[in-house]
Amino acid sequence: MNRPRLPAPLRRTLSLARKETFQIIRDPSSILIAFILPLILLLLFGFGISLDANSIRIGMVVKDARADARSLVQAFEASEYFEIVTAFDQSALEPSLVSGQLRGLVVIPPDFTERLHRRDPAPIEVLTDGSQPNTAQFVANYAQGVYAVWQTRQLGDAALTPPAAITPQPRFWFNAELTSRYNLVPGSTAVVMTIIGTLLTALVIAREWERGTMEAVLATPVSRVELLLSKIVPYFILGMSSLVLCTLAAVFVFDVPFRGSVLALAAVAAAFLVPALGQGLLISAATKNQFVAAQLALFTGFLPATLLSGFIFEISAMPLPIRTVTTVIPARYFVTSLQTLFLAGDVWSVLWPAIAKMLAVGAFFLALTWLATPKRIA
């Protein structure tokens, strides 16, 4: 045997990886998944999903025409949170609440002035559209805030000392203005990388199984490890490039602060790609069919990464069985790490456990893939 001893496995792996790269680039549906879909999703998540209710349209029913009531209406009109429609009659505004054009009503009763001066409880009433629970909660909170500020100022003007009270002073760290985009855009990187790592990998490799070209490769001296490595490397590079794209977009298009280090970001992303790619490989090896692989990748990769990763919905509030399921979803750890890296910085007490768990899930997927990949054709 006069073949070079050490480089052979490496050379084989590299040429297979090159073949894999061509395969991705030459197929239009791969281009769609690798480049176009991530871009669309990034834009949708960045612009489309916002939990910040800026200027909610509400109605004010003003049944008291005196100065205090007018001044309260002005306070609501001046608030950046609300867009106000006023009426003297509640029945004029109720249909708009039903149709969803208004998300709440502030009712100032006819005896508002008297109740205010008598310091009666609850001189005004707020009705919200409970069919949108999140917005309803904001309407209630913001209305309370506007009223409290107005009341303090009003009492100050009347040279009355406001009654002593215990006042909560909230400070939101890392995101003082509570811009939901700051949490959502970093989180969406996890979804984009899941699409490339899991969906694209599963599809392209399932196609090889389907067409029998995988068997052809297996018939060569290539070992299973070399084969798996050659599959992983191109998708790994593609995944890391999508990370660069997403991060640049987050910082320069969506103005999200980045307080961590690039090195930590790269480390966390690399750790995430291990289970993401592992899952893709496992799906392709287990199904050997593009159609089933596409469905499985969507339902076990994309959906959990979007809905069960804590990216939009809070994991802690989910019921126990679902919380248990989320512990094996790698995107969950990635989302937490990304939000921490972007907003808080390199907090290693968050990052190390996340990296360890992602690698553990990844090792599990890769081990299963190794078992599911036949050594030789039966």
Binding site: L32, V126, G130, P163, I166, P168, R171, N183, Q339
Partner: protein, 366 residues
């Protein structure tokens, strides 16, 4: 003509049902989504820990602590000893919030002065921390009300939530699922229908049969319509009987507008079908359509929070209109005029997508 169409419809239904893949498409996604969406989609705060740093030695500080200990959303309340620990527990996400009571807290209250309680929250979880903040503020106001001899500032505002008095998130999610699930089912069933025949090569046989193109379109639309109605009905039943969500409006109005909604979606599904040559491409096409449709419908976050140009773009999204109808009819007894107003865009979308896909289907198969 009707007999031909009917037999084509029966054939289509059987084709889906006899194919194990087709059966999986019909049965698995809705059940999976029921579990994920109905239970996991929540904006509430539960099972989170918080920390209290009470530097006050008096009784008022303990009152605040007791109030927090008794509050339901918090799992564990950790006692901190010094200010320097705050950063550690917040940074590592050990707790979502720290309540910081200063040294002179009780003294200030007892001398009739106002006192502050600082709440430090983890802004990385902007929604959860906001909700935690309103819980904590509520607790503090209750302590405040009993702390001063003459009583403190009275409760300023009475709040009533219409249509969903306890703001239960499931009341939002399940009526929304009636719309989203039917979209997913119908789009996948329809998108696969032509692609499956193309893959098997039977589509050419269909084209040379005496069926006219319009009849083929009707036959290919029927399964999406039937399965869409079946899944929609299933979720209405789950919402009403499983989750005890009151159905306030007219079932007839909901089913009536659902017809046009499904037609609009079927048009898009056939369109995807016409441009896909394999079932795998059809599935991906359906996915590329469905994810933006769900994201930009108001189901994941309110449409009114989006920038103006994007709100305008949501007008061509059938899910946005039907979501409004479904949630409205369910909870608010949406008046018929309002249902019609939102059904008109659905009819318009169907009038564009159906003929366009029929045309494309003829073009790609000749």
């Amino acid at each position: 003509m009707w007999r031909r169409i009917l037999s084509l419809i029966i054939k289509e239904m059987l084709a889906i049902w006899r194919d194990p893949k087709g059966r999986a498409v019909i049965l698995v996604p809705p059940l999976l989504q029921l579990v994920i969406f109905a239970f996991a989609m929540t904006m509430e705060v539960r099972n989170v820990d918080i920390a209290v740093l009470n530097l006050d030695t008096g009784s008022r500080g303990r009152d605040v602590e007791a109030g927090i200990l008794g509050a339901s959303p918090f799992d564990e309340v950790i006692g901190l000893q010094s200010v320097s620990q705050i950063q550690e527990v917040i940074d590592s996400q050990r707790v979502i919030a720290v309540v910081h009571i200063g040294q002179d807290f009780t003294r200030r209250i007892e001398t009739g002065q106002s006192a502050d309680v600082q709440i430090i929250l983890d802004g990385r979880k902007s929604n959860a921390s906001q909700i935690a903040n309103s819980y904590l503020s509520g607790i503090i106001s209750r302590v405040s009300a009993t702390a001063y001899p003459g009583g403190s500032a009275p409760e300023a505002i009475r709040i009533r939530h219409w249509f969903n008095p306890n703001l239960e998130y499931a009341w939002f999610t399940l009526p929304g699922l009636v719309a989203t699930i039917t979209l997913l089912t119908t789009i996948i069933v329809t998108a696969l229908s032509v692609a499956r025949e193309r893959e098997l090569g039977t589509f050419d046989q269909l084209l040379v049969s005496p069926l006219r193109p319009i009849e083929i379109v009707v036959g290919k639309s029927a399964p999406g319509l039937i399965f869409g109605y079946m899944h929609g009905t299933f979720f209405i039943l789950v919402a009403v009987f499983g989750f005890k969500i009151p159905f306030a409006g007219s079932l007839l109005a909901l089913y009536g507008s659902m017809f046009f909604y499904l037609l609009a979606v079927i048009g898009i599904g056939l369109f995807i079908s016409a441009i896909s040559s394999t079932q795998q491409q059809a599935i991906l096409g359906a996915f590329v359509f469905a994810s933006p449709a769900v994201l930009l419908s108001g189901f994941m976050s309110p449409v009114e929070n989006m920038p103006g140009w994007m709100q305008l773009a949501t007008q061509i999204n059938p899910l946005r209109h039907f979501l409004h109808i479904s949630q409205g009819v369910f909870l608010k007894d949406l008046p018929l005029s309002e249902v019609v107003r939102s059904t008109v865009p659905l009819i318009l979308i169907a009038m564009v997508t159906l003929p366009a896909s029929a045309w494309l289907l003829r073009k790609t198969s000749s």
